[in-house]
Point group: C2
Chain length 327, copies 2
């Protein structure tokens, strides 16, 4: 079976690990958000790609959810001793080597998708990781504070300000001209099912959906999403601050409507959110807290089961025997 999943950082990474456990023989392709990418100290940093790569490759700091296990911060301390900014970014020594290799390869002319493949040769995540685009796309956040109204990089808003200053809107710099990375549209086209993990629906999934051709390709497939909102609150992260910026209610219903029935065929919500509904989308209620690898696997298995059954129904409706086998 061929599965495509979009992904942001921590939530997406943990879900993908569950998905791999739920479907160990499937060909899984993760299309990963790169809107959070940032260049700091001359190094190109791809937080979401790295979080997914480390999580599936066994190198993640499990407690924290991002960054490397057994990490040290010597270089960061030394940079601070030089009084260079920014000092708010958690740049670990082990993690730094990834950024150095990536930056060097990018400077040598390799596109990010090939760089990612090279890095994965070490980490062997067991799934195929594709950046959403090889082009530079960066999420900026328009805020108003004592320095006036201005746009800052998403990382500064998210990490330094912890989303404490309201986002007025998000500007995806470069998105209007960015092309999907090689393999992205092909993977979606070839997929039996597509799963949207409980990643941030605005700045992770929402960003990927803005890359030319991606939304259209997904709308042609059987897509099941997992709600990132349980009982009116984000499972983790600060998705509420992002949803507020685009005028969407922080609820399983709000995100369902944001994605819409053109994109979604199925929607998994937490048991307490049973009752959420949208015409054209099959909603199922399940325990959705990814408290362990097993819990993530069960959620992924539920999403996958729903997607397969919806796909079979679709094919049956179209007339028997025209599609590729679903198993």
């Amino acid at each position: 079976m061929r599965i495509v999943s979009l992904a942001g950082g921590i939530g997406g990474a943990r879900f993908l690990r569950g998905l791999k456990a739920a479907a160990p023989d499937a060909e899984i392709t993760a299309i990963v958000n790169t809107g959070d990418d940032i260049t700091l100290f001359g190094l190109r940093i791809c937080p979401d790609l790295d979080t997914v790569m480390y999580t599936l490759g066994g190198g993640i700091n499990e407690e924290q959810g991002w960054g490397r296990a057994d990490e040290s911060f010597t270089v960061k301390e030394e940079l601070a001793a030089y009084e260079v900014e920014p000092q708010w970014f958690g740049l670990g020594d082990r993690d730094l080597a990834t950024h150095i290799v990536r930056t060097q390869m990018l400077s040598a002319g390799y596109p990010l998708s090939q760089v990612t493949e090279a890095l994965c040769a070490r980490w062997r995540p067991g799934i195929r990781l594709l950046p959403m685009t090889d082009d530079r796309v960066e999420t900026h956040v328009v805020i108003s504070d004592d320095q006036g109204r201005r746009a800052i990089h998403f990382q500064e808003w998210w990490v330094r300000l912890r989303a404490s200053v309201p986002a007025e809107r998000f500007v995806l710099v470069g998105a209007d001209t960015a092309k999907p990375a090689p393999g992205v549209l092909e993977a979606i086209h070839d997929a039996d099912v597509v799963i949207l993990p409980p990643s941030n629906p605005v700045v992770s999934i929402g960003t990927i959906l803005q890359i030319a051709g991606v939304r259209e390709a997904l709308e042609a497939k059987t897509v099941v999403g997992v709600s990132p909102i349980i009982g009116g609150a984000p499972v983790r992260g600060m998705a509420d601050a992002c949803l507020a910026a685009i005028g969407v209610e922080t609820s399983a219903q709000g995100v369902l409507e944001l994605y819409g029935s053109a994109l979604l065929d199925g929607w998994l919500v937490a048991e307490e959110d049973a009752g959420v509904a949208l015409d054209g989308v099959v909603v199922e209620a399940r325990p959705l807290l990814m408290t362990s690898l097993e819990a993530a696997r069960d959620i992924a298995a539920a999403a996958l089961d729903l997607a397969r059954s919806l796909r079979e129904k679709k094919e049956a409706a179209r007339g028997a025997g025209t599609g590729r086998g679903s198993a």
Copy 2:
């Protein structure tokens, strides 16, 4: 008093520390070799500038003579885990921050001389450090081995091969067009005396002398050198391998003749090398082993005393009272 000193790495750095102790009130400018500089992993590394900066700034690994005290090698281990080359360069975590700041500033358009000044704002070496040039100049070494006759970067010959393969010759890539860094010729012009520390006469001092205008500017000054060779062997490092490549005997006499009387006014040799002589150069024999800061200070003081007395004699010979005061 204004003193100019040329300098390579470890020997030059330790001598400069002694010079600063011997003349605490002097304005000392060190013109530092950059022919050893190398770009590794996309980072610009200036081994001699860093060794001088760390040594005078209190950050050096004293035992080793280069690199940072209390150093760790996490990033290097991680780079090796990615199987990226080269793995023979001793890239420490603390040291790495210096290379990151330097590379970022260079990329932003600052010349190396300004970058060096910015780095020294942290280290406060107490003397002025100038790279010999802001232009890219790199010493390459022509060798013949089982891969045939080829030129490799000096660092590869020095660090990876430990100068075990004979150098056929040195090629200073970029030297023909390199200009002295801002301040270099001015510092020499304004100097009361110039001291050549016991740095490598071929790939450190010899390299600096190849930058346009430097040798000529020095020849107009009172210059005293300290022999890097004691009793036919280099005090440290592998200067013999470098001298052999240019057909110069590894001896205090050989290096004296290499520098020549057009450049040198005085030459300090070790007591066992008493007898070394060259027309037009005053030779003095002294203990020359820099076994401690005090020993380095005493050697520097002797070089300085000799230089001052030679300068006074020169001025007296030219007719009294025309020069700047020598104290």
